[in-house]
Assembly symmetry: C2
Homo-oligomer: 100 residues x 2
């Protein structure tokens, strides 16, 4: 599963997630990603463009492509899981014996 490998590189998922709501220019995208180093951000953006999930619009700003939106939509369930998990983590959560 090679795609999970490059999805698992730092900031890749995050960039896809931050672009889900619409296009963002380089600097704004950088701020959203905890002010990640522009070196790495540019590296990821190049990879994502090479794969074809994002595109640099004429006039500036990065945006998801059609395939990018398809991929990004698959991230939403992960977010749902995460929020449910966070809710269980805050109030006490029961861990079955078999899962320790």
């Amino acid at each position: 599963m090679r795609v999970l490998d490059w999805l698992g590189r730092r900031w890749t998922l995050r960039v896809l997630w931050e672009l889900r709501a619409g296009a963002l220019p380089f600097r704004a995208l950088r701020e959203r990603c905890d002010a990640v180093s522009p070196t790495v951000l540019n590296e990821r953006l190049r990879e994502l463009r090479a794969v074809g999930v994002i595109a640099l619009r004429a006039g500036g700003g990065y945006d998801l492509t059609a395939e990018g939106r398809a991929l990004g939509a698959l991230l939403a369930p992960l977010n749902v899981w995460a929020e449910r998990w966070a809710r269980r983590a805050t109030h006490g959560r029961r861990i079955p014996r078999s899962e320790r």
Copy 2:
């Protein structure tokens, strides 16, 4: 979206993916993950245990918990997307003007 951040750390997604079919002992899991360094693997396994998505069974071997399986199920669509993408990448693929 903090969860996407630690999911985006190296080998995290991969470990979840390799455990989807069932439990694996440390060394076998390591081999499946391109013989990743045991140092890092152990670090990820500790994180995944702390979050509660995997568990070390009595008698050896790592396995997904109930929540782990729920999370792992969300990875399958990513795989589907990946395979479809790979198929489009091999034979010629058309890129719309707006996406270059």
